[in-house]
Symmetry: D3
Subunit: 164 residues, 6 copies
């Protein structure tokens, strides 16, 4: 029976840090489902459709990696997909407290689900979707931090402001 | 002269973690006033009236525990109630920095007021009102984390979404 | 060639903690430019004009200190002003993670720019513009935490609510 | 090809927290090797032989779990055992900084090795071999924190001091 | 029945930070017992007798404060002294993880015992017995950080090295 | 008058992370004195003479950088050398608490001295002299983390153990 891991997130947009975690997770499990949260209440910069399209373009060519979406309880989604493993990338110590909280809650709801924390490459320690958008908004080039399909999307979204 | 401690918070809604702190505080002081912040600016999930009603229903049967509300400076409220002790539950290291900041400010305004930090039962280390609402919104059962009166209120509020 | 350091921030309003960092930075560099972020998206309590006016009134009399504003990428602003040094005050451990993230991003965009972290006087460890506004809003006196020009502005802004 | 994970440590002595991590790791991987560090320089309370004996007695009955020892570089040991996965239990935020440091170093030496962080049951958040020895030394009962074979060993070692 | 709190520590030597916590604890409880740990294994700079003498000289004149010593389990000592409250001063976020660990262990052994965390004056945030000894050893004056009886003892102990 | 900064440490041995900080500091100040602590009490792996020789070999060719040693109070050393600036590299959040403590103590002794915190390149975030020695002791190659003169010294010291 293949071991399936689920890697949930907003991916708004997907970054090189996310891609690094996908590859690491894939070496540990037979299949990795990168699943984009619908997030009805939270405002996202890109629509669900855009976020999924970017992620799909990025994982093209990676065998055993699928892109999907989920809404509602993550542990319900895992059950539906036949997975018992949640992948989380932890970049920094301050991430951990929230991660422990979520892992604890997920475990309480579904004791058979395990949260697995992976550390991205050091180059991505200080990288996040929000900081990339913050600097892109001000006109910085972000090609070093994003996979090509996301670079394009970010450039279009923030093209109003051009770099001096 | 009885020693009175004030336990302030949003209690939106009151959780088992809050109840644990109330009981611990009560063993240290003659009277504990659980006081619900009015929070005009901050959006709360439940109205002040609802939050007070839940808290009152939960402390029923606990002697020496009173539910009240406050608006404005907490230290002014303490003076009015004849208390010099603020109770704060600290679940995790990351809580502490904000707590130190608030305690420091309160002490600067009213040097005679002391902030007392208590640690809840380990079972409640990763528990907060907001995470409970987050999972309740998605359809999870929250009976293990909330006292009965709060369970009922949370269920009604989030009943639109049913668990699959 | 004079060494110029840039001290960026919202200064909404400027506090005694900010003034302490300005003085420390000035002892290290020939010139310190306190530069107020325009922050179009983020809601500030005081307008850009008000924040600049307060800062200017506060640095009056300090030689080698200038007040300016910036919009867009901070590192672009530094280049324009002929500076390679960003000053950041770090009050507490929890500040550092965000600071490392910003410094890392700035360094990636402009490798010649160095972020220099200074520690304010211990009296200002738990002081921030937002906590001062929080207590001022509730009617507390804030004269111990703000320089005189800011005290006046804060008092006017929050005068609707009077202290009991 | 079976997926093998290595769980290294001093296990001086093995605790219920360690056992919890072993079980969680075993649900993720086909085989888990609990490997006891030889630690020539560091003083351990129990000899290598004792630590191995305790661990072996504890994992008896768990299928797919083996006890071994290692000396020298952990990543060399992994290569020898045909594993690419290091399991680490992370109880608290403060653990993470050291863990990131070790994971980073191991990754630099052997890029194909992945460190996988798992969170033990909340009951074990504040549990460590050293704190158990500290309280056992003073006469406290430690049966709630240790598996039976370790309880016996700890009792004998610290029996000089009896509880009043 | 008077409420008795126990304030345990090495007090090697007692500092102004410790004295600040004693005074704060005394405002909360009827009696505070400052109890010096015997610490047979751990090397202390001052003997138990010296540490007790310093502490006694410092609390002279404070009503409701007693100096004592303890050996073995702290919770056993509390029972003997009729106390259910442990006072701990927490200066900084990094203190908290160890404090939570100890509080958790004490609670597991004696559920009726409560650990109460107090925050010292900001001036003492970065103060500890060990850092004072470190700088005294190198010849710095330490009169601002220690109560008079401790200043004298520290000066004698480190008098070999004189300040240039 | 040239601005002189002092960069103190054990440098046991000097790493690429230290060298990175030296270069960053040199861009901010006219002269940087890398000063090796004598550390009589603390056991160092390399003698003072060896640590100084390694550092000297590493800074050869860097203009405006000097290697020296100091004993006793760092702030006394600064006065002797005509410097008012202490440089500290901060790799991670957990470093900061100790750094704040030392900076606070130094400031109390010599208010005119300023501690300046710099962030090394991300590649060195998880690098320290002690972790390098730990892995070198077990036979790992450390050429990526140390400047050439230190690589040689470390290899000789730990040559007893050869890599399998």
């Amino acid at each position: 029976m293949p071991r399936i891991a689920v890697y949930p997130g907003s991916f708004d947009p997907i970054t090189n840090g996310h891609m690094d975690i996908v590859r690491r997770a894939r070496r540990l499990f037979d299949k990795v489902i990168l699943t984009v949260a619908v997030n009805r209440s939270k405002n996202s910069t890109f629509t669900l459709k855009e976020r999924v399209a970017m992620a799909k373009a990025c994982v093209r060519g990676l065998s055993g990696v699928e892109v999907d979406t989920f809404e509602g309880l993550l542990v319900d989604y895992l059950k539906k997909r036949g997975s018992r493993v949640i992948i989380r990338g932890v970049r920094a110590v301050s991430d951990m407290e929230y991660e422990f909280q979520m892992a604890s809650m997920n475990r309480a709801i579904s004791p058979e689900v395990e949260s697995v924390f992976l550390m991205p490459d050091e180059r991505y320690t200080y990288l996040s979707s929000s900081i990339i958008k913050e600097v892109a908004r001000m006109g910085a080039r972000v090609g070093d931090y994003l996979p090509a399909p996301a670079v394009e999307a970010v450039r279009k979204r923030f093209s109003r402001r051009t770099r001096p």
